[in-house]
Amino acid sequence: MDLTFTPEQLAFRDELRTWLREHGPEGALTPEPRDEDEQWEWRRAWQRTLHAGRWAGVHWPTEVGGRGATLSETAIFFEELGRSGAPLPADVLGILLAGPTLMVWGDDAQKDRLLPTILSADETWCQGFSEPDAGSDFGAVKTRAVRENPDDPESDWLVTGQKVWTSGAQYAKWCMLVARTDDTAGAKKHAGLTYFVLDMEQAAVDVRPLVQITGSPEFNELFLDDARIPNSMVVGGVGNGWKVALTTLMNERAGLAFFLQVRLRQQLDKLVAAAKRNGSVDDPIVADRLADLHVRTEALRLMAWKGLTAIEQYGQPGPEGSLTKWLWSETNQLLVQLAVDVVGADALTMEDSWGFELLRARGNSIEGGTTEIQKNIIAERVLGLPRAR
């Protein structure tokens, strides 16, 4: 066991801290605007600032604008970013999901065309996986892609169907799209899927905002009616979409876990401060709940680092991924619920940020795989129990 950073890691962290002090919320970064579109532009500008300092994709190879950072350094980056109070870059989906997926599965032409604009936020991404009838059961996607000319293996693809809950689609240039290319009877459900990069800038793609319970349209419905994708934008080969999508999903929580865990810590600090100010901390029940949140948050931090040790040691994530996702979402939900008791009625108004947090937190146990699905994964893949019935 060694729970300290190496001198190299400390140097990395200190360089980052110095940079964040100058450019982050303590320095040049302006406060977050309220309007959702302005918020997006603000986060896009922030990503460009990060990129100028070569901080936008620390885990990306140096040739494509990254720092070739180790897993630990990447974790440190997200912890420090969270700690500084700075937002995530606008295009987390491009930086954490699309880019790494292309680096594994993309061909040279795709990498040359698509990677350079990600870190600079010149082109941003969305993730078109979920559909009305394919949520937890992601393999059930129905959106269909057919070759325009079935006899020509180089022919363009035409895609028709509906995607849903697509975050950031209103701003995105590209979409990681999983569609069915083979539904012949008997073809195994997962075998008929193909992973595409869809250009969102075409009339056949209709993006309709879906308003969340918070009142803001963070995600969208996507209606595709013969949307065109050149054959060169098939990623990882026709019929290989399930495997490519798994790469995307595996990357989803890698760095984010550290950012979210530190954000939780900040929210908790804020809540403790509020409880001290209004004296509710003297209520033994409030004190007990605050301490419980503290214990959970610390456990999350340690579990995230333990998971990283496992990846560095054995090349694959341990069970901690699903455990931390589940523990994080539950803890955040407990935290915002306690805030209502601590802050009082203000937390039930949209004037107070706790009101927004209370509502937004309900999505935590649904987005990125529901808690029930995480538990299934733990039971079947970690504990080795027989498939659920």
């Binding site: 007990d288 995480q374 970690v382 027989p386």
Partner: protein, 365 residues
């Protein structure tokens, strides 16, 4: 950052696991318990401690386990809390019928809070295993493992006051039949330790002066948490293998989602307790001394809470067989219930966390 036991530590862990698999199977634990039950009531045989595997205890002493974290100049091996925690987890996994927990925690307390004289007098005897120790807090009257007439007992005031040491034969221990029959327990009915008052003639102040209990008792709590982690891991392993095997409705009950999610919850709870416990041990060995207190309380809070729920869930997921004396799950639940209360339960430790977290480290506005 490397959250993993070192090679040496893994070796200790492996050796402990292997030895205990042969020397402390459930059948062997059961034999110790049933031998004790078979004894006629009436005059107790003072040469024998109930619920104790004397042979195993002797062996552990000879192997140096009892003194693993005691400094070498007091006859121990001078290793760290991590090594002690690693072994303790394995003993919990085996529900070993030995007074290890009481003796090693008492030694930690004396090592970190005793006077030179107290260290000189007691550490060597505790390290060799010839003297039994017991560690507890005032007021709660929990059955204390290792507490017997001939034991050395260290007691800390539960409300942050000082601590006292009671030598063997002090008369401070009362007999008790605890729910856990796999080791000996006694009660230490001391209501509180008031720094303003003289100690009654039976004991002496720990460290020779009246100072608030601290680093020794914090470490002791970490060791108890470690035993809980081992107990929980065993409960989880047993449950997983049982539900894979047991069939109802023509299929393994482990294929029912309610059962699966129960098992997933057990894993999450054990994992939280484990990372917090090993973190606390690491902080105690290498970290900032000011952080040991909170790290210890976080570990004990998580382990106390989870120890109860995980071992109860194990019984539930075994169904009726889990409720019988014949199945071995109950040893785990019983051990966990006592350890959960020993040296402060989850509520006690969350109060300490709250006190510390609220006191400092928080932005003013």
């Amino acid at each position: 950052m490397r959250f993993e036991l070192s090679e040496d530590q893994q070796e200790i862990q492996g050796a402990a696991r292997e030895l205990l698999a042969g020397r402390s199977s459930f059948a062997q634990v059961r034999a110790v318990v049933e031998e004790q039950d078979a004894e006629p009531t009436g005059m107790p045989d003072l040469s024998k401690v109930p619920g104790e595997d004397a042979g195993l205890w002797k062996e552990l002493g000879e192997l140096g386990w009892t003194g693993i974290a005691v400094p070498e100049d007091h006859g121990g091996q001078g290793l760290g809390l991590i090594e002690l925690v690693t072994i303790t987890e394995e003993l919990g996994y085996a529900v070993a019928a030995v007074p290890f927990l009481g003796s090693t925690t008492a030694a930690l307390v004396i090592q970190h809070e005793g006077s030179d004289e107290q260290r000189e007098d007691w550490l060597g005897h505790l390290a060799s295993g010839e003297l039994r120790g017991a560690t507890t807090l005032t007021g709660d009257k929990v059955p204390v493992p290792g507490a017997a007439e001939g034991s050395l007992v260290v007691v800390a005031d539960a409300h942050g006051g000082p601590a006292a040491l009671y030598g063997p034969g002090s008369g401070v221990v009362e007999p008790v039949t605890a729910i856990d029959p796999t080791r000996g327990h006694g009660r230490v009915p001391i209501a509180g330790l008031d720094p303003e008052e003289e100690l009654d003639g039976r004991g002496e102040w720990l460290g020779g002066t009246v100072t608030p209990a601290g680093p020794g008792f914090d470490r002791a709590a970490i060791v108890v948490a470690a035993e809980l982690v081992g107990v929980m891991q065993r409960a989880l392993d047993m449950t997983v293998s049982y539900v894979k095997d047991r069939k109802q409705f023509g299929v393994p009950v482990g294929s029912f989602q309610a059962v699966q999610h129960g098992a997933a919850q057990m894993l999450r709870d054990v994992t939280m307790a484990r990372v917090l416990t090993y973190n606390a041990a690491w902080v105690a060995d290498h970290g900032d001394p000011a952080e040991v207190r909170v790290a210890a309380s976080m570990a004990k809070a998580a382990a106390s809470e989870a120890g109860r729920t995980v071992t109860s869930a194990a019984i539930q997921l075994h169904g009726g067989i889990g409720f019988t004396w014949e199945a071995d799950v109950h040893w785990l639940m019983k051990r966990a219930q006592i350890d959960a209360a020993l040296l402060g339960g989850a509520g006690h430790h969350r109060r300490r966390v709250a006190g510390q977290v609220v006191a400092g480290n928080v932005p003013a506005a």
